[in-house]
Amino acid sequence: MNRHLLLAVALLLIAATASAAGIPGDADGNGVLDQPEYTAAVLTYLVGEGDLTRTDIQDATWVLARWDGRPLEVTDSSGQTLTLSRPLRRVVTFTGESLETLRSLGFDMEKVVAVDKYSHAKSAFFPGFQEKANVGSIWSPDMERVLTLRPDAVFLYATISTAACDEIQQKLEASSPGTRVFRFDCFKPATYPGEIRAIAAATGCEDRGDEFVGFYESVMDGIRAGTADVPEDGKTRVYFEYWTDYKTFASGSGYNEKLEIAGGYNPFAGESAEYPEVDPEAVIVSNPEVVVKLTGQKLAAGGYAGHDIAALEATRSAILKRPGWTRLAAVADDRVHVVHSDILGGAQHFIGTAYLAKWFYPERFAGLDPNAIHQRYLTEFQGLDFNLASEGAFVYP
């Protein structure tokens, strides 16, 4: 008797998940919603019969109109192909970059039901998101909360924190088979345009996606084109310092990649550690033409939260006072800059790269206006009421 009950329950569960997983209205279950099936489902709903709800019919309409009645296949940055039978209605983002990209695409932010704790805390950049649920971070996720939110989609990184992201993905696939796990980085210059397009397709924001990709590529490709013909030995020598004194980047790190896109030459790129700590003498010997100092997070100055140009200025002055530095070409030519990691890491890296390009090659990029690019990004794509002239502190000078 118990075994039969178990079997019955199991079958019911399988049936329930199967019907929940397919396209709503796909009566013959062949994975395609054709017009007769659609109209039959609509009519049954209109007269108040059947099991489909208004949401189901709206989703079926979307599938028919946008996806030609077939499930949509999306390939994410980890190479896996996900199948969507319905449009996304409940999204959880574990990464601030994917959240920002969704906002750039004009995705309805009401459909984002939960964000990670770091985005939750950014009240200046994500105003109003504090009312959404907080699912912790990738390294300590609040899985119970994610599950009770019953999301359609969860966004994780593809190439970093892979162990932690893989674990979250495994747990979700085991406990919540209807949830699609999307792995997108959204901060790497090499993959970002493709990712924007993939996310745009998945969320039905293709037009805005094309517009945003156009904007992004006009900046990045413009920089690449502008530095393409600089000879190897003619590249601007740059000393790019991380948050800690005398820590710089080597070729494994993303910051170095952006430095090289901007046409700079990092004499320490060949070091073995990702963030090598270098001998101060080696810096002086390399005699950089431009010095860039990264601020943000650890140095807690600038960014979106305040208008603290003075703090960036203080950082710069402290660097200039280092012994022996007055003889560096960068100091002599007054080419020492401070930049905030908010616009150099993450989804806004194209803005920071534009600043770098302008600092490295002022004549070539005389027409490039990174501040205008930044303002356009904030106003037009992020929809933020943020005026760079009076708020935020990102670069100095």
Partner: protein, 172 residues
């Protein structure tokens, strides 16, 4: 004896009063070929649909009135007693026929839903009466949209009622 055309003009005037304020974007309006069909007569109803690519309309006929066919293909219409459901797919006009009973009156009401925009609304009621004769059941089922039109309409309705009564009285 008040000639029929005048009565019809009055009804049309009343109908115009009742045309609802269009919802932003989508508007569904109904027009009857006649609001006073003869007994057993078949009249046509035209739905004019604006701004709805994929959606649905449900028409509810008053008691006694029967659905008598439509120009839409069969798989896009479903009839359940007095309800007729239409699946709208890029249509701007849907026409269907209704057969009037021997006697009876009432309101044809409707609801529309836009599945792409996620909005829905009501189609303003259309009053219909066989031979213009109001039956008791009909007056009880006043459509709320009609009530919402405001007090001037109520006055006009009262005037119409008096005129109709006079017409009937005149006929005898």
């Amino acid at each position: 004896m008040i000639p029929l055309p005048a009565n019809r003009l009055l009804c049309i005037a009343l109908l115009i009063m009742v045309v609802p304020v269009a919802a932003s974007g989508t508007a569904v309006t109904r027009a009857l070929s006649t609001a006073e069909p003869g007994a057993g007569e078949t009249f046509t109803v035209s739905l004019s649909i604006e701004g709805m690519a994929l959606g649905g309309v449900v028409e509810t006929l008053p008691a006694g009135y029967a659905f008598a066919g439509t120009d839409l293909p069969d798989d896009r219409v479903l009839v359940r007693e007095q309800k007729i459901a239409f699946a709208v797919m890029n249509d701007t006009r849907i026409t269907y026929s209704v057969r009037a009973p021997a006697s009876g009156s009432g309101d044809i009401t409707g609801r529309w839903e836009d599945f792409i925009g996620g909005t829905d609304g009501a189609v303003a009621a259309s009053h219909v009466a066989v031979d213009g004769i109001e039956t008791a059941a009909a007056s009880g089922g006043a459509d709320p949209a009609v009530r919402e039109a405001g007090s001037p309409f109520a006055v006009l309705a009262a005037v119409a009622g008096i005129l109709l009564a006079a017409y009937r009285g005149g006929r005898r």
